[in-house]
């Protein structure tokens, strides 16, 4: 089930590679590979995670959970799997361009973010998905520092939110 995760160490070994702040926020460079022992733990945790996240959020098990910044609606239900907001094809009334009978996932995220006072979290540029983490436990990945911190308890306008937004890859170009 799980993909081999050892490869990323090839990149880590490269002496020439340098991480700029811009890059650091865009791709997950130099993350700890998932070891064989960890994979077993990941399986068990993923099982527990699925029991909660699949029925509640229609979790797509990307292993790089950004639910806390998307008002607890899984953005990976978007047919284009967009992580940074809706594409230009949202129809009138917020219908999805690919499945017109469904609501655009990002349309729902926006309105629920308003309801929960979490709109400012939508300004954050989410990094490019690390496909090595697909179908692994996001909880384990978070605990092991492979993915960015959860913004579960943050609301609009707190200093921490402002820091996250201004500290983004985006701001440093």
């Amino acid at each position: 089930m799980l993909p081999p995760h050892g490869q990323s160490s090839i990149r880590n070994a490269s002496a020439k590679s340098r991480i700029t702040p811009l890059l650091e926020n865009l791709v997950a460079l130099n993350i700890r590979p998932i070891t064989v022992r960890e994979r077993k733990l990941s399986h068990i945790l993923l099982f527990l995670e699925d029991i909660i996240k699949v029925p509640l959020f229609r979790c797509q098990r990307c292993g790089e959970c950004i639910l806390s910044s998307t008002a607890f609606i899984c953005s990976q239900n978007c047919p284009k799997r967009l992580r940074n907001g809706p594409c230009g094809g949202t129809g009138e009334g917020g219908s999805c361009e690919v499945f017109p009978d469904r609501k655009c996932v990002w349309y729902r995220i926006y309105f629920r973010s308003r309801l929960l006072h979490r709109v400012s979290l939508l300004y954050k540029v989410n990094s490019i998905h690390n496909w090595n983490l697909e179908k692994t436990s996001a909880w384990l990945n978070l605990f092991r520092g492979r993915i960015q911190g959860s913004m579960l308890f943050l609301r609009n306008d707190t200093q921490k939110v402002k820091d996250i937004i201004s500290d983004d890859a985006a701001g440093k170009i």
């Binding site: 590679s17 811009l22 047919p79 809706p86 230009g88 094809g89 349309y107 890859a169 170009i173």
Partner: protein
């Protein structure tokens, strides 16, 4: 003068859009491009638009360079993963292409091969940031390039799709990621566009990136209906349907509407140019540019 220099010296810019042929016949593209020469500052080359296979945008752009037209290549995330995107961009830079419009891309189910696998490894915002990273001298692996490309980065925006406020957040993200010019979806509803531009100016985004509203000349009511049905995120007020259906010569009326639209758009604060999308009606471009009183500097 390059497109970037024109923006930097505050010129009013005119962009066009060309659709490459569904064959390897470069002459078709050359013939189509002649309608634009001398009438636009730069020409967008679509990248398998509507998920239909066409001559590649980078190859087409090379042909345009030979013809003496500055191309803007469109780069979508539908057909390429991060490896292909970076490699294609390096190729484009080596061929002398300077302008890139970063798009997510139409979903493959809209095309004529809906069974295809959509890639979407990156989204448009991440693509913009990736190109900016390459400009700064690094590949996404972190390895440094001896000669970094110097892309002038563009992005698209659709002011007419809901939720409207989310569109502004997305525009903010695109500009923050490195987009320096923004081409919008075709404007038919001037009211919505004017309100959107007001918000853009309020947020100060018009100073960080040049805003180019899209204008699409329409030939007949049939095209208008097709657009309303098939192009997601389009907003066409009923007024245009009645104008087009009552007109004695729908083509003339289409030109009049486009010219009126450009004149109105030019006067909106923050607008730095016009993006004309004639689709496959390229021959109309010179007339529209002349009648709307747009001047192209050489």
């Amino acid at each position: 003068m390059t497109l970037q220099e024109k923006f930097e010296s505050n010129q009013f810019v005119v962009c066009g859009e060309i659709t490459p042929p569904q064959s390897c016949d470069g002459n078709v593209l050359r013939d189509r491009s002649r309608h634009f020469k001398g009438f636009v500052d730069a020409l967008n080359v679509t990248d398998n638009q509507r998920a239909i296979v066409r001559l590649s945008s980078i190859s087409s752009a090379t042909i345009l360079l030979d013809e003496g037209i500055e191309p803007i290549i469109q780069m979508t995330c539908r057909d390429r993963n991060r490896l292909a995107i970076q490699s294609d961009l390096l190729g484009a830079a080596a061929l002398g292409i300077r302008n890139v419009l970063c798009l997510t891309g139409d979903h493959q189910t809209f095309g004529d091969q809906p069974e295809a696998k959509g890639v979407f490894d990156l989204d448009s915002i991440q693509l913009i940031a990736a190109v900016a990273t390459m400009n700064s001298g690094f590949l996404l692996s972190g390895s440094e390039m001896k000669k970094p490309p110097e892309f002038f980065i563009g992005a698209a925006a659709n002011p007419f799709a809901e939720p409207f406020k989310m569109r502004l957040i997305r525009l903010h993200k695109k500009i923050a990621a490195g987009a320096r010019f923004i081409q919008t979806q075709a404007v038919f509803d001037l009211g919505i566009f004017a309100r959107w531009m007001e918000r853009v100016v309020e947020m100060g985004l018009h100073e960080k990136a040049a805003m180019l509203p899209g204008v699409m000349p329409v030939r007949s009511v049939k095209t208008l209906l097709w657009m309303k049905e098939k192009l997601p995120g389009m907003r066409i007020p009923a007024e245009f349907f009645s104008r087009m259906s009552q007109a004695r010569d729908p083509e003339e009326e289409g030109i009049t509407i486009a010219v009126e639209m450009i004149r109105a758009l030019k006067n909106i604060r923050g607008v730095r140019g016009i993006h004309i999308m004639p689709s496959l009606w390229e021959s109309v471009t010179p007339r529209i540019v002349k009648e709307a009183g747009l001047h192209v500097a050489h």
